[in-house]
């Protein structure tokens, strides 16, 4: 009973992270950045020290990410690849289910998990839920040996990008369900790489901010994977936006004509 609630709570916490991450990456937003960010930019352009500190902070964040996604070779050597993958998923605050078991192993809010999963030796993992975790390309190496993985949920992962999707060809025989909605770094080139997953039955590509023409891309995806059911919500397919833009353009042209008439006497 409490497990789904804690899961929901964690999702809400992680979605805040996602929003912050998106703002950092895109400078094409209509509103100017907040005061502290502008101040920081001003200081960075003037002082080498500020620039160095900011670069150190960025590098520290990246190295922390890399440390979390490192290859768990030690665990693999002593406990086998399945336990190593399980431990990796749990340490990244994800959840999984073994083949033949119906119980999901998850971490709680504070990141603590029970060590019961050690009891099931040499059982491959069937479903993995890595939503809102910081899994990335190098971390996927830890799941490489799971050739009977059927479901992979990567909803809202900030580090899942096109290269990650291209590497999913490792699971081409077994993967049936894939959820990559709300991942900010996926673009059309990465979606094209999903063609290797010939056994895919359910694909969720909702609300991907990185793809430019969502309607067309979804249609092409459906053509590319005929046996797959594709869910794509959260896109604004209206033509109203285009009409508004056209009206704005015409108004601008009209005002320009008036100005030129005012400046150049007939």
């Amino acid at each position: 009973m409490s497990a789904p609630l804690t899961y929901l709570h964690r999702c809400c916490q992680r979605s805040v992270l996602l929003v912050v991450a998106r703002r950092q990456w895109s400078t094409n937003s209509a509103s100017p950045p907040p005061l502290h960010r502008r101040l920081l930019l001003f200081l960075t352009q003037r002082f080498y020290d500020v620039e160095m500190l900011l670069r150190w902070r960025y590098q520290a964040q990246r190295s922390q990410l890399q440390k979390k996604n490192v290859y768990y070779s030690y665990t693999q050597r002593f406990y086998g690849p399945d336990i190593a993958s399980a431990y990796y998923i749990l340490s990244l605050k994800g959840g999984f289910r073994y083949v033949g078991q119906s119980e999901w192993f998850r971490t709680n809010q504070r990141g603590k998990f029970s060590w019961d999963f050690l009891n099931h030796k040499n059982t491959p993992i069937e479903e993995a839920d890595m939503s809102y975790t910081i899994i990335n390309y190098t971390g996927l190496e830890n799941l490489e040996r799971q050739r009977s993985l059927r479901t992979l949920k990567l909803k809202g992962c900030p580090e899942v990008d096109d290269w990650f999707l291209a590497r999913l060809h490792l699971f081409q025989d077994s993967l049936e369900e894939l959820d990559i909605s709300h991942c900010p770094r996926i673009t059309t080139g990465g979606l094209a790489a999903l063609r290797n997953l010939k056994g895919l039955k359910h694909l969720n590509v909702s609300s991907l901010p990185g793809i430019s023409n969502p309607g067309l891309v979804i249609i092409l995806l459906e053509e590319m994977l005929p046996q797959c059911q594709i869910t794509a919500n959260g896109y604004d397919h209206n033509l109203r936006k285009v009409e508004e833009e056209e009206e704005e353009q015409m108004q601008r042209q009209r005002s320009l004509c008036e100005e030129t008439k005012a400046h150049n006497p007939v």
Binding site: T44, E51, R62, D162, H169, G190, V217, V266
Partner: protein, 476 residues
Amino acid sequence: MSAMWRRLQVKVGPARGLLTSTQVTRRSTWLNGHLSLCQSFSTGTSLRNDFFKDLETHMEAMRKKAMDALPGSSWTPLEINPNLPPERADIVIVGGGVVGWSIAYWLKQKEMVRGGVRVLVVEKDPTYSQASTVLSAGGIRQQFSLPENIHLSLASADFIRNINEHLGVLNEDPIDLQFNHLGYLFLASEAVAHIMEENYSTQRYAGAKVSLLSPTQLKEKFPWVNTEGVVLASYGLENEGWFDPWTLLNAFKRKAISMGAIQCCGEVTEFKYTTSVITTTDGEKLDLRRIKSVKVQMPHSLEYQPVECAIVVNAAGAFSGKLTEMLGIGFGPKQSIAGIPLPVEPRKRYVYVVRCPDGPGLDTPFLIDYSGVYVRREGLGGNYITGASPEEVTSAWAGFYDYNTFDQNAIIGTHPLINNMYFATGFSGHGLQHSPAVGRAVAELILDGNYKTLDLSGFSFNRILTQEPKLERNIV
């Protein structure tokens, strides 16, 4: 002082408004000749207005002059062309394409001290109208037969995957190369199938993720491919695809310039070198040359600047042969080392854009046939880029690529007769996909003295002197 000028300008603004209104009415009465209504029916502006407009421009010019006269401005009475390169540089890279800027970035990356090496990149044409970088199809693949090429491609793919960590500049937008992750699909006929199988084992051994497909498997995976005459196909699963070369070039350029590399638009027309004569063990006399300075000529003018340098890197692409001729390579007696020219010449290659609305779709790989025809998808609207003439064409472009006439593989390293010139040319169509790894290799060669990560000694100039070509089987 400047604040005073600014305040003055502000005062002129409203004053102008007051005065013009009275001027207009006076003019209308004059024009009509007799006292008439003070209303003006003309839609034009009055003559008196111009006086105040000129006044504003005059004030602006005087303000600028005053600012220049103050200390801290960059005005000098000697009108020196600001586009000239510096008089001295440690390393001059001739050629501002993707290979040249990649070498500049890696040199700046590997220097131990801030400002340790002064790197100057000289590019003849800032529009890149004839450079092979921007006119390439932009593909990267691991399906080569030489292990060095495979390792170069793998290293470059690794670099491109982490491109924001390598080339990201603080507070700038992240780099979006628009990388399409679709593999290369090579089709082999009966005659060349065994070569493809050997290549497959080399590629798997080197770590590339490639899969071999039979005609039935090929038809199953890509139903639109015509499998007539096709016996075997090899498809890349990972680290292959195509991207935007212009973005990569600009990313390298921006990062290198932010780290202190100097960019110059000009053409290298002459080298000043010292010659010393050495005798080999056979008793043959050889001219050993050492470049002292490079003469950089400004575009469309006779102005030039001699740049004293320690090392010159030849990354001029299609025009590298012409550059080495300036040093006398190729003009010696036929049998000697000096008589062998650099076998790189510009070769024209044509790329065509075709439109097929009923074409394959999102998952079209980079298809290469055994006859040499290649095709890839461009964008989402049913356009395809291909390289061998079809009948009807939407548009086309042509570019030179640095064709190595000897064995169509890169030439990296020094020349035995020129002490301080490093070559990084002759890529014959693979320059873009190997550029990050080659840049790192050349930077290691220059700064560390030897290759550290990848051993590219197989691509040195020696194979041209001993006339042993290092051929790649199955190239396009």
